[in-house]
């Protein structure tokens, strides 16, 4: 990794001797996970625990005429079979809307369907038994009589008068519409030398987590308290929602989140089957475990990205982009998800298109429609891959039209690095971005001119390689503007409590969560650096609403930037408190002292004065030896939320180098480059691997992943053989470089890095494919770019 620090600051708390900031240090949880001592929800066994299996609808849309569970109830091991009607006694339905998404509507959703099923996979009954196998056996003997209803499956016709309305009470199938106009769009197009217009198609796909969604809910009637063990990204959000719908106070709900096997935004929502599991525990007064199997994961984990977006760009012959226009349509399933809603992705598309560029003329419409398919909601890089593919696809088409190199058109239109702070035509505010520095670095890393020469030479031999570039912006560190202002009780602040234990080690409780991205590591690095102790002296506690401060958790690339700053500020206080007491013990002043290598030292010459364990011993066991009136405080808590900017935007640019076999339609990815700017880098390896992992998920969307529904609303590839996740064999080497523009909102200066890779990967690949196919006069604006799509475009089949 190489990096350029754009805003060198004075020596900060992060630049202390032996700082861990900017260093790759081993993850504190590595040994535990590698030795198989992780604790996932599946590992949890409680006394009297029962297992729930959900009988799921085979139809996309049907009336439930009757459920006969008599035979199943008599099967071995069966404890209870519960219908939606029966469960409604202990849990209320919900509606996934937020007030800041004006006009967004949805229908009440129940934990288990009551009269009607609205997608294939919606639960119609819960079978609770002594084991998962016994429950599956019994599920085969629950007879449900359905009356099939017309299924709304094609988003393009969902709003037609002839199409049936899924929720009669809503009047139509339109969930949300947003129109945004900035500048003089028509005039700009009229003044353009060329206008290019096309439709971009994005396949519906999902985020496949290694560990499926899992819950153990344990209602303790004696305490009137529900303990939920769940792999979730947002424990306090779950606590709030559960309390609200089960008629409890939040203090009666504890959410414990131990190890989580991947989330990607899949595990930040409230799912009906999880709600049913909580409710079943209360109803049956015993612990209930639900672990989704792979088939139900595909049928019920949120899907994303099912968009068709018309895009238009105007350009002058000198390369100046005059205007962008989009008309986006997306189908979200039968309900807007709870509590974050399913309008966010389309809203983000409107926000982000054209974002890296100076053009001020922008018109956008986004429509979100209901369908009888699985629910769609926020998945890694929400909306960004759509916006980036549309924007960068249009920019390349414009460049092709005027015969300009794709790098050159970007150089002429990207917002200048010294233009900040500034805003976008959609109303976004940018504190400090580095598009040009990033692009310059990318060009150097990939040796652009040499690649172009290689491409030209190979073309003569009938080998068709392409280069694709994609600049992007990325929403990170969201403030309350994301959800809170719309009425969702999803915290945008996070808190950290640090305390010195009696032997001079640090216990740190944080409200951010860990799903594998390194929250535990980065927290330990910050605490260790700011305090002056080694990370093996820092124990980080996460994921427990009884034990940690209140906060949002880990999603929307916020853990490091927000939770990390809270850790920094809390540790600064602890450090001050330690130095105060050290000054008393050493008959010195706090200014003359520092902490380094687990000891209080002289600030001047670094000479050790008192070990932290000795200081702790005095404070905890011999306070009688301190002067009168001294009350040491070796615990500190701080919370942080960004206040200046609604979001800390990051930026970056990606490039893809690939080969298209024009006889077979197969695409071989040869190399991928990313330069991104997430501000302060806490742990370079974690950042780089977040980028790489994100790129791989973006490449999955570009080439492989798609939930294939038939016209009756049946998901036809709900398994790992037919749903193609990206695998290492097809992945190129991914080189990552950085430009560093820290945010001044926080002392830490970190912005998010978890989603940048996903934002631009597919756009870079699509542009590279079209670059490779230039000799054939063919452009493709549809992903996934399957061999069938490529061969069809080439007219070979």
């Amino acid at each position: 990794m190489t990096s350029v620090r754009v805003n060198p600051d004075a020596l900060s708390v992060l630049d202390r001797p032996n700082s861990y900031i900017g260093k790759t240090v081993p993850r504190p949880n590595l040994e535990r996970l590698l030795q198989g001592r992780g604790l996932y929800v599946s590992d949890i066994e409680l006394p009297r625990m029962a297992h729930v299996v959900f009988l799921r609808s085979p139809h996309a849309h049907a009336k439930i005429v009757g459920i006969d569970a008599a035979q199943a109830r008599a099967m071995p091991g069966v404890i209870a079979i519960v219908t939606g009607q029966e469960l409604a006694a202990v849990i209320t339905p919900w509606v996934g809307v937020l007030s800041h998404l004006k006009g967004l509507k949805s229908a009440p959703q129940s934990a288990i369907a009551i009269d009607r099923v609205c997608w294939q996979g919606e639960a119609v009954a819960a079978i609770v038994a002594t084991s998962r196998a016994a429950a599956e056996d019994a599920a085969e003997h629950v007879a449900v009589e359905y009356e099939e209803l017309e299924a709304v499956t094609d988003m393009r016709t969902a709003l037609d008068p002839a199409t049936s309305v899924i929720h009669a009470s809503l009047g139509d199938n339109l969930a949300f519409e947003r129109v945004h106009v900035a500048g003089e769009v028509d005039q700009a197009f009229a003044d353009s030398d060329e206008v290019v217009e096309t439709e971009f198609i994005f396949g519906r796909h999902t985020g496949v987590t290694l560990e499926p969604r899992s819950v153990v809910a344990d209602w303790n009637a004696a305490e009137a308290r529900l303990t939920i063990y769940q792999g979730t990204q947002a424990p306090h959000m779950v606590q709030n929602i559960v309390a609200l719908h089960l008629g409890l106070r939040e203090a009666q709900v504890r959410v414990v989140c131990k190890d989580v096997g991947g989330s990607f935004g899949i595990k930040v929502h409230i799912y009906a089957d999880e709600m049913a599991t909580y409710a079943l525990s209360k109803l049956l007064r015993r612990p209930i475990k639900f672990v989704a199997d792979r088939v139900e994961s595909f049928n019920t984990d949120i899907h994303a990205r099912d968009h068709r977006c018309r895009g238009k760009i105007g350009v002058k012959r000198d390369g100046t982009i005059t205007a962008f226009e989009i008309d986006d349509l997306t189908g979200i399933g039968p309900y807007s998800m709870y509590p974050r809603t399913s309008a966010i992705e389309a809203n983000q598309v409107v926000n982000l298109v054209g974002g890296p560029y100076t053009s001020k003329n922008y018109r956008a419409r986004a429509r979100v429609v209901f369908q009888n398919k699985n629910v769609m909601c926020q998945y890694r890089a929400v909306g960004h891959p759509i916006a980036c593919s549309v924007t960068e696809g249009l920019v390349d088409l414009a460049a092709m039209k005027i015969g300009m190199d794709p790098l050159e058109i970007r150089r002429r239109n990207l917002i200048a690095d010294d233009a900040y702070p500034c805003g976008s035509p959609s109303g976004l505010r940018f504190e400090k971005l580095s598009h040009h520095a990033s692009l310059a670095k990318l060009v150097k890393m990939m040796d652009y001119d040499a690649l172009r020469a290689e491409q030209a030479a190979l073309r003569k031999k009938g080998i068709h390689r392409g280069i694709g570039i994609a600049s992007f912006i990325e929403v990170t560190n969201p403030s309350a503007a994301f959800y809170g202002v719309g009425g969702a009780k999803i915290s945008s602040q996070d808190g950290v409590a640090v305390r010195l234990d009696a032997q001079g080690s640090v216990i740190c409780a944080t409200s951010i969560t860990e799903q594998g991205q390194g929250s535990e590591s980065l927290t330990a690095q910050i605490v260790g650096s700011v305090l002056g102790v080694s990370t093996d002296r820092v124990r980080v506690i996460l994921g427990d609403t009884d034990m940690t401060p209140y906060g949002g958790g880990t999603w929307a690339s916020r853990g490091a930037g927000i939770g990390g700053e809270a850790a920094l500020q809390a540790t600064k206080i602890l450090r001050k408190n330690i130095l105060d007491v050290a000054a008393v013990i050493l008959q010195s002043t706090p200014d003359e002292l520092d902490i380094a290598n687990n000891a209080v030292v002289n600030a001047s010459d670094g000479a050790p004065r008192i070990e932290l364990n000795e200081l702790a011993r005095v404070v905890y066991f011999r306070p009688d030896t301190l002067p009168p009136g001294i009350q040491p405080e070796l615990m500190a808590t701080k919370h942080f939320v960004p206040r200046e900017y609604p979001f800390a935007f990051t930026n970056g640019v990606q490039a893809s180098w690939l080969e298209v076999d024009t006889e077979t339609g197969f695409i071989r990815l040869l190399k991928h480059w990313v330069v991104e700017d997430c501000g302060t880098i806490i742990n370079p390896q974690l950042v780089d691997e977040q980028i790489r992992g994100g790129v791989v998920q973006g490449l999955g969307a570009a080439l492989f992943e798609r939930c294939i529904y038939d016209e009756r609303g049946q998901l036809t590839n709900a398994n790992m053989a037919d749903y193609l996740v990206p695998m290492s064999g097809e992945m190129p080497d991914i080189d990552v470089g950085h430009v560093v523009s820290p945010t001044l909102e926080s002392e830490l200066g970190a912005k998010g890095a978890g989603e940048a890779g996903t934002a631009g990967a597919a756009a870079a690949v699509s542009n590279a494919v079209n670059d490779a196919l230039q000799p054939f006069g063919v452009t493709i604006t549809e992903i996934p770019l399957t061999p069938q799509v490529v061969l069809t475009a080439l007219g070979r089949v």
Binding site: D293, G462, E663, T664, A721, L724, M727, P787, R796
Partner: protein
């Protein structure tokens, strides 16, 4: 995703396995490597009453050369095919093919006999059996049957094997001096089932095919030994001859539609495979280049 309850018997000998199969018929399933059977059971696509585990039958293991014949036990695992010096020397096509079969974890468990008996039309080894002119040896209550590979595969997951019979071994003629082979498949990801594939074995004399066996897979309901090969045998292969062979191949195909490819695309890819395969076998790259229609 838990299998329904089933009874389990570990066969102690081939005779014992045959007794169990005779007693239970199609209510029993033979467990070999389990790489297709277990997922199907866990998905409850099938719920056999009895599993007959033949995993301990050492008599079904082993690779031996008897004169001009290579004998491979049914329980030979993919990884053993990949690493065997006898296979490398006498049936190198199998080494190339096995490298395309799924992933190491699956190759460590999956067996040759299991793959052939399962008869997935998109899997590699059945087509190799056609190309290598294999004889499939099965044993049943009535004794041993020897079935030519061409007669063995009868449809999607269907073979000439009766429910009471056990596939015990295969026999291949050892590759003659001067023989060449070609294996390629088009799959979305490495290790996936092919969209179209070709396993070919040939002997070349004076720049012409003296013998050519083309085993196509994933382009029909069973692996196909293409008659189009006769058009290429004993003649000077030109671009025009190859185009004719492509047309002949096309007439033999009856490809299925699935999520990866339309029938038309499978036909197209089969033609590309034929051209590229012939070019590679003859060492004449120019035959494989250029657009294929």
């Amino acid at each position: 995703m838990k299998a329904a309850a089933f009874a389990y018997a570990r066969a102690t000998s081939v005779a014992n396995a045959l007794d169990l199969l005779a007693a239970h018929g199609d209510r029993a399933k033979v467990l070999s490597g389990g790489q297709s059977l277990m997922p199907a059971m866990n998905l409850r696509l099938i719920s056999p009453e009895l599993i007959v585990d033949i995993g301990e039958l050492t008599e079904l293991r082993g690779i031996t050369v008897r004169g001009d014949v290579l004998v491979i036990g049914a329980l030979t695992r993919h990884v053993e095919l990949l690493k065997s010096p006898d296979i490398a020397a006498h049936a190198p096509l199998l080494v190339d093919a096995v490298a395309h079969v799924a992933h190491p974890a699956i190759r460590n468990r999956g067996t040759l006999g299991g793959s052939l008996a399962h008869a997935d039309p998109a899997s590699e080894l059945p087509a190799c059996m056609l190309a290598l002119d294999a004889t499939i040896i099965v044993r049943g209550p009535g004794g041993e049957r020897r079935i030519a590979a061409e007669e063995f595969f009868t449809g999607i997951y269907e073979t000439a094997l009766a429910p009471q019979e056990l596939l015990v071994a295969i026999e291949l003629p050892v590759a003659k001096k001067g023989s060449v082979h070609f294996f390629h498949e088009f799959a979305r990801r490495h290790g996936d089932y092919a969209i179209a594939g070709l396993a070919a074995q040939a002997s070349i004399d004076g720049g012409r095919f003296a013998g050519l066996r083309l085993g196509f897979f994933a382009v029909g309901d069973r692996p196909l030994l293409a008659n189009a090969a006769t058009r290429l045998t004993g003649v000077e292969v030109s671009a025009a001859v190859l185009t004719e062979a492509c047309a002949a191949l096309d007439a033999e195909l009856d490809p299925q539609e699935d999520q990866q490819a339309s029938p038309e695309m499978r036909r197209h890819l089969a033609r590309v495979l034929l051209k590229r395969g012939v070019a590679a076998l003859l060492g004449r790259p120019e035959l494989g280049a250029g657009a294929t229609t």
